[in-house]
């Protein structure tokens, strides 16, 4: 289990890093081509957008793992440790429900896109390919939130015994 989780970490970290470098390079390359040769690559913008979308959804899972999603958490100032832990379990449960919901919604969209194929304007790839980033990202988020709940609960038991 922990080994799978370790490979997931590596997968997430590397794929978003590569996409960011790719997008940066692509934007610059396109400027250079346009400036010196008068014509850029037509599908460059689209590729940049789709890489950033991949970064967003897969990165969202990285942020769940690191606990770095932005939240208004001043309520925790008024809580003791036990209450904070209960709150965390509650938030993470909401996280699982939400991630599963979004995964289901996006799969429905993808199914419809496979039935009625639609091509992206510049890259000419079927639209369900970029849409796949949503279930991928939120599926990972669901796993991460479940992991957090497990670690929250096991931590609690460890303290009691």
């Amino acid at each position: 289990m922990s080994r799978i989780s370790h490979y997931l970490d590596i997968f997430e970290d590397n794929i978003i890093a590569i996409c960011l470098l790719l997008a940066t390079g692509m934007v610059t390359l396109n400027v250079i081509l346009r400036f010196f040769f008068g014509a850029g690559i037509s599908w460059s913008d689209e590729l940049v957008r789709y890489s950033m979308i991949l970064i967003t959804f897969v990165g969202a899972s990285v942020c769940v793992r690191k606990g770095s999603h932005i939240a208004v958490d001043f309520i925790q100032i008024y809580m003791n440790k036990k209450q904070i832990r209960i709150l965390e379990i509650f938030i993470n449960t909401v996280g699982v429900i939400f991630s599963v919901m979004l995964t289901v919604f996006s799969i429905a969209i993808i199914k419809r896109n496979i039935e009625f194929p639609q091509l992206s304007p510049a890259l000419q790839i079927p639209m369900y390919i970029p849409y796949l980033t949503i279930p991928l990202g939120f599926g990972l988020c669901a796993i991460r939130y479940t992991q957090r709940i497990i670690s929250d609960i096991s931590r609690k038991e460890a303290k009691q015994s």
Binding site: A17, I18, I55, G59, V94, A108
Partner: protein
Amino acid sequence: MTVFLVIVLFACLLLAVPIFMSLSLSSILALMTFTNIAPEVMAQRYFGGLDKFGLMAMPLFIFGAQIMLEGGIARKLLSWAKTLVSWLPGGTAFTAHFSCMFFGALCGSSPATVAAIGGVMYPELIKEKYDKGFAVGLISSSASVAILIPPSVTMILYGVATGVSIGSLFIAGIGAGIIYTLVMAIYVYWWVIKQGMTRSENFSIMKFFRATFDAIWALGVPIIIMGGIYTGVFTPTEAAGVSTVYAILVSLFVTREMDFKKLYQVAKSSAALCAQVLILTSAAATFGWLLTVARVPQNAANFVLDSGASQLVFLIFVNVIFLIAGMFMDGSGAVTILAPIIHPLGVALGVNPVQLGVIIVANLAIGMITPPLGLNLFVANGITGVSLTRMIPSVVPFFLVSLIALLIITYVPSITLFLPKLVFPGSF
């Protein structure tokens, strides 16, 4: 529907549910309860909220700023700023203050500026026996200007949310940012004189030239960004990409403070940072779409027009709303949620959209130092170890001074609009 949406949103936010999830959950529940629209649309809206080339400037600028921090470019700019102002009485305080403005020209985020400038200047201020509270207050307040000085993540989000030209917002931000910094510099001068500090060194033109030569690579960054947008060679997104590649090349081959391995590490951490803001943006775009389904912006606009409010009253209203929002929300969140509602009101009343954007961003800059949620204070606390209770009293005078700057920016439109009028004649 609107009441339901707002209640669910606030309940989630109060329970410390991440902001992006609070926004989406309330939208999904409202959609399922009050409309016949299939909730699957949410997934599509999420995608659509991100599928904009203009928005891509934000992650690229975030990446660029991280590179400049790790690759030594930021430090070079800091020592340049030092030779520029350190001859004043209380030179170290002024160095900290003005380097925040210059650093804002490299990076578009205030908390990042606190981290960068605070890490270097706070130890120096303490070494010269400045009051701890003042030192922390100074750094966290001065750094807030970074979102007014282009490039600015908050301005990009404002442009994407409302359709106002990001290039114009950037250029308008220069004037506002300089006023903001100068007004605060007057307070710093007054404080320094009150403490009886005198000048410790003289301005040396030779030293300045040498530092400029040293910092020449760092100074290239704002020149590329503003020059490129100004001459129309590239869009803000392309400026972000080009300046990032420039920063990578300088760090790899000129300052040699970065190798390929480190570059890859920075890419990893920056990408996670980008996701953190991007997911919030797409959630807010979804929420904004639902507000239009519920006809909130239209109703609000009608309400304001019927009430016969003047521009003057409206701008006070905008300032109050965004100062309060800034207390409880991060600037990115506040802009993406509120800007689509406020912007059409301003346009209906004849306020210049670019100026309105700058006013809103100035409010959110102040929001960076107002508790309970003042990101700059949290970062400053993390870096210096000074507690929030110690920090807040010394931030109060800076807060009051920045309100003066805000009033000037709000009611003297020529400060913000002077430069864009010069650069883009005809469109104003």
